[in-house]
Structure formats: C-alpha cells, structure tokens
Point group: C2
Chain length 425, copies 2
Amino acid sequence: MQRENINTEQLLADKAEITAAYEELQGAGLNLDLTRGKPSSEQLDFSTELLSLPGDNFISPSGLDVRNYGVLNGLSELRSLWGNLLGIPADQVIAGDASSLNIMFDLISWSYTFGNNDSPMPWSVEEEVKWICPVPGYDRHHSITELFGCEMLTVPMTSTGPDMDAVRELAKDPAVKGMWTVPIFANPTGVTITREVAQQLAEMETGAPDFRIVWDNAYAVHTLTDEFPEVINVLELAEQAGNPNRFWFMSSTSKITLAGAGVAFFASSKANLDWYGKIANIRGIGPNKVNQLAHLQFFGDDEGVRAIMRKHAGSLAPKFTRVIEILRRRLSQYNVAEWTEPEGGYFISVDLLAGTASRVVELAKEAGVSLTAAGATFPLKQDPQDSNLRLAPSMPTIDQLEVAMNGFATCVLLAAIEKLESDAS
Amino acid sequence: MQRENINTEQLLADKAEITAAYEELQGAGLNLDLTRGKPSSEQLDFSTELLSLPGDNFISPSGLDVRNYGVLNGLSELRSLWGNLLGIPADQVIAGDASSLNIMFDLISWSYTFGNNDSPMPWSVEEEVKWICPVPGYDRHHSITELFGCEMLTVPMTSTGPDMDAVRELAKDPAVKGMWTVPIFANPTGVTITREVAQQLAEMETGAPDFRIVWDNAYAVHTLTDEFPEVINVLELAEQAGNPNRFWFMSSTSKITLAGAGVAFFASSKANLDWYGKIANIRGIGPNKVNQLAHLQFFGDDEGVRAIMRKHAGSLAPKFTRVIEILRRRLSQYNVAEWTEPEGGYFISVDLLAGTASRVVELAKEAGVSLTAAGATFPLKQDPQDSNLRLAPSMPTIDQLEVAMNGFATCVLLAAIEKLESDAS
C-alpha cells in the first residue's frame, strides 16, 4: 500500500472516533484467534464417519490385509482415487502418512544429504544453495529451507502466479536448486497459478540440473464457490518440455478429512519416486495403510472427495464473505489497505501501509485478538515493508469473526494514524 | 558351529536318507515363508476393536479435540500410559506416528546434517563416523547406518548382551558415534541385556561427546512365557552416571496392535527430546493423534497392554515350541547347528556349520521354503562365517511350520554333508 494513495485527511479527521473504538475494544476482554489455517469443529464433523473406519472391513478391494507391514507406496486403490482427483496416473502417485509437509522436509533433507536423482553432488557439499520463495508465502515452507541453510530469494506473487521474469532470471544461477509454490488458492494470497505460468515453469531453463519445484497443491479442491479449479498436470507438462523430474507435486487430505490424521500424497516422475522410495524404504516399512483404507471407504471415489469439499465451502464461504464485507465497510474509504478476495483456500492476505503491520499485530494482541505475526509470510519472518498480514477465518464462528475483524480494522486504522503522525513529526 | 564338534560319521552315514528327504521336499510344491517378523492374522485379530476407534468419542480425557492439528509431542494420556508401561516419567516419552524406525532414521539423519545436541559439529563434516553393531543384529538398523556411510564395527552378542570388553574398547574412539541395541528379546538372538550390562553401557567412557546408544526396545513386553521381563530405565541409569543424553530409547505398538498402523514412542532426556522436537517441529505439525486416542481407548491402561501381550504369547509360544522341537529332533544328534530358545521376541537365531548358511537358503528356496537371506543379520549383509540364519515363526500356521521346519532341517543336513565332502575332496 503506497502512502500517497491513502485518504490521510479523512483518517486524521476520524482519529477521535477510531481511538475511542480501540479503547472500547481493549475493555471488551476478547480472546479471539485468527492465526492458523485450521479447520473448525463444524468442518471436522463432516468426517466423523471416518473415525469408525475401517472397522472389521480391513481387507482392501484387491485383497490386501492392511493391518500388516509393507506396501511402501501405499494402498493402490487410494492412489488411483487420488490420481483421478488430480488427473495424474496412479503409478505417479504414492500415498503416505498424514503429512505432506513431512514428505517435503524429507525431499529437501535427502537432497541435502545424498543429492537427488539429478544432483552432481549432495547439496550439503555445494558451495551455496539458493531457493526461490514467492512472497508472501507459507511460513512452514520457509522454515524448512531456512533450517537447511538455503539462501532464500524472494519473488513477488502476481495475480497469475510468481513473477516469471524474476523467476526465470534467478533460475539461471546453478546455485538455485528449487522453488516453493502453492499452485492453487495459494497460502496466503489465494492466487491460482495459470496454465500459462505453469507451462513456463515446466519449460524454463535452470542452471542446476537437479532444480526442483515443490508444487504444494494443498488447496487443489478447496473451493469457496460452486466451481472446482482445474488441476494442471504439471508432471505431464514437464515431461513434454523435456524436464520430467522438475516437479515434486504434493497433496493431502489434511483439510479435507482430519487435520493431522489424514493421508498425504506425493506425485512425481517415476525417476523421482524411485529415488524417494529407495531412501524411504530404509527409513521405514511403509505408511499407515489402515488409515488409507479408511479414507478409501469414506470417499468411495473422487466425486466423494468433491462432495465433502462442497460441505467445507458451505461452512467457510460465509466466513470469508463476512471478513471481506467488514474490510470493505471499515477500510475502503480510507484506502489504507488492500486485501485479496480469494475463491478458495484458507487465507486472506492483507497489505497495509508500509511499516504498520507489526504495530497492528501488537495493538490487536493488546485487545485480545491474536493475529499471525507480521513477517510470517516472508523468509526469515522478515517482511522488508512490514506491510503484509495473513488472516485465517476458518476457526472462529461468524459472530466471533465479526468482532475480531472489526477489532482488526480498528487496529489497522489506528496504526496508520500513528504512522502518519510519526512520519509527519 | 565348529566343525570338529560335528558328528560327521553319522551325518555321512545318513546321507542317502537325507538326500531322499530333500528330493521328496522338492517334489512337494511348497510355498512357505519364514522370512519376516510379521504378526499373523490371528494376532492382528486381537486388535480388531481398534479399527472402529475412536468413533465419535474424539475428545481426549483432558478435553483435546484430537482431530485437529498440533500437539507435537503426542497425546499426554498415551504418553503417561506408555511411561507407566516402561517405567519412565511421561515427560520423557513422546508419542509419534506408527514407526519407531522412522524416528531412528531421523535421529541419525539429523545428527548427520545438523549434529545432535552434544555434537561439536555435524557428523557429515567429521572425517569418519563409526558405529557399533552387535551381531547378529537387526538388518534394518544396519541399513540406516550403511546409508549414512558409517563404518560399522561388529561386536559379538553374548548371553547377557553385547560383549562389553569389545564395546568399551571401541567406544574410546572419538569417531565412534553410537551403537545399535535391541535390549529385550533381541532381534534375532532373543537375548535380553542384563541390568549389569545396561549399567556398564550407561557408565562407560566414550571418545565422542555426542555418542548415542539406540535402545530399540521393540520387544519390551513381547514375552512368550507367563513372565514379563524387567524394563530397565536406562535413562535414569545414564543420568545417575553423568551421561544423561546417552540413550535414544525407542518403543512402538507395531507388534502389539497393528503392524505399521500403531503408535511409536521415543523416550529420552529432556535435552535430547528438545533437540529432536526443534527439528521435528519444522518437519511437521504433529503426529496422528486420532490413532493415539484410539490406542488409549483400546488399551485403557498399561495393564491393558499386558493383557494383549498375553494373547500374543498364547498364539506365538506354541509356534516357537514346535520350531525348537523340530530343530532338536532333526539336528541334535548330528551336532550340526546351535540355536537360541528365546523366551520372547519374534525370532530364533541359528548358527550353522561355517560356510553353509547361504547354501541352506538356496536349497530351501529350491524346495519352496523362503528363508531370510544368509548374512542379513550382519552389517552390509555379510556374515564373515556364512553361518547365521534367522527364523521368523510368527506368520505360518503350526502345520505349515511343521513342514517348513522339517524342510529346513533337511537342508541344513544336506548343506553340511556337501560342505564336509567338498572340504575332504
């Protein structure tokens, strides 16, 4: 948000009213939380049936007793179901335990220790490893590459995906080994990468032969409307472009069935899966197939997944609508913030007057409204503009959201006034 | 097995009979498998109730909704239950996903990449890393240290645990970073480490400040008799000895409830758990707590675990008895093999005339009986004596075991005859 656009006059004129509103907020004894993208109890209830499965029906359709050890790549029927959902052949999809984040961590950890299947050497012995991070992005992505000591290079998100001119330029550097993406309804911008940008990512030249794009499709079916987005088969695009191993495609049921107790999926080229499997087979004997069979029974088929997602949309969409209504009503006239109005996913991204985001979090906290820390959406948790905040509307009830968002708006206005006055003095 | 002890005369006298028995075996069209320590269907049926849990009872006793994200260290009530079972305070036990092997891999992987909490530097930048491997041992242990390029130093197992003179000597080398153990009913020897040896392991001097003993207590309650073994709290012994961080203590329900769909536990000093948690918290958001609550409900308390283990003993003990009966009946008079007669665990370890183990596996395979590969119990899968084989009697029925073990005995005798004749010629 550029300060020259702000309606400073009106903001300062309303200072007394805004200050009074904040004092009232402080007196209200609130304890509200907009920090994390967690499903609400109402949403978790959609999967109550799953909690009694598979019961004594523990033989898979193809005759496998899922209670015993083995089957490193997961239950074939569930891999097929998920492949149908994503438009990817089942033999390019493996089903794991609950967390796709676990798999992403391991992919980078093992590339670091052993090198991946295209690496000239382990990343740990490279002089430096750099990683492209579209911003704002997902904090847990950044934490992984931070842990492994990658230099994180930010590129701005546009309405079609990451700024491709910037990405292409950075990817020429052989030290740049990969890139984070959330291709559909991104965390936190809600942006969906277009087919054109996906194609460019599949085709672009990279300096590193072992360059990987983590295609973290965490919100592939997480629509807030009646429409499901197209899930682009980037594995196919990459293969056609002669870069078959470019994408590590991630997916999970965490925000479909049970957060933290679902099934994660990893889709990729045969060569990538073989490399992963070779190490995974030493790390363990196979994933929890009981939970995989339970999910298979619960979903039935890929249309069953969509049916549940429609229920989630029914629960989440009114919350997003309410948040956006309040942002519009309380902030539009001052032109003091810009926000996304996503059609899916779990977040609304707000850009504030530069230099006020952390102050807004502080003011809100003092009034009992917890927000995700300023900077959280940037590598090293440092937003150079101190401008971006991520709102997560899923957990509170609509009534709580109403209160929390009005409080948030008040804090945004008050922080802006403080900033304008301090700059002027 | 020393060849001078063998009853060569009788063995050669019975050659025609043994050869005929083998030919008959080959003609029988068998397809029997003694390779892996997997529970049988009968054993898995003991936990059928678990497959419908937690149902709609998804709030933990302390009021936690287990369906959502979070709680990195696992469900507190299950940590307490397992702490009671093992005699370890709950705050030194964390509950994870299904596989303790996964945790062991990560502990070594992260020590390699980052160094552990006592490391002067990451193990990856040490000039060399060596690891003590009591033999015969667990193949999947050896595969992990092999993958990370450790030089594996073998020490013999005795009836009280690893040969401590050898261990103490090796541990003085600062390049020796750790040691594998299976302290109770070891894989494959069935040996239980005595309190005296455990004390020595806790107290011994090590050249490396970050030396760790993986105390893989996979069979802590896996008795084949009416008695449960004492579970030694080595964490306490180590603390008293001034080496509080020495042990990584592992446990899991894999062979208690559902193989590959249970709950794994990691117990250690606060400092070790904190170090592990710091990285685990970047790898993911927390373990599958739904499965943890299901286990809590299924067990009730630690006595509930023992009740299930008595059922397992009821199923397994007759199989072990039959195997040992056949080994005695068929092999004793020739003095051609030595075997363990364990009081718990999943395996019988057989030492054969040196140079015949791989031939026995080959002969058995040609007759339709699959045995674990010769050498599997040694690092790099190389048994310098070609003598040790591991039998896993859990999966077949008693009738199948009868056939398979008689076949096995025939192969042992035939291989011994071949060897004696070849040596004589």
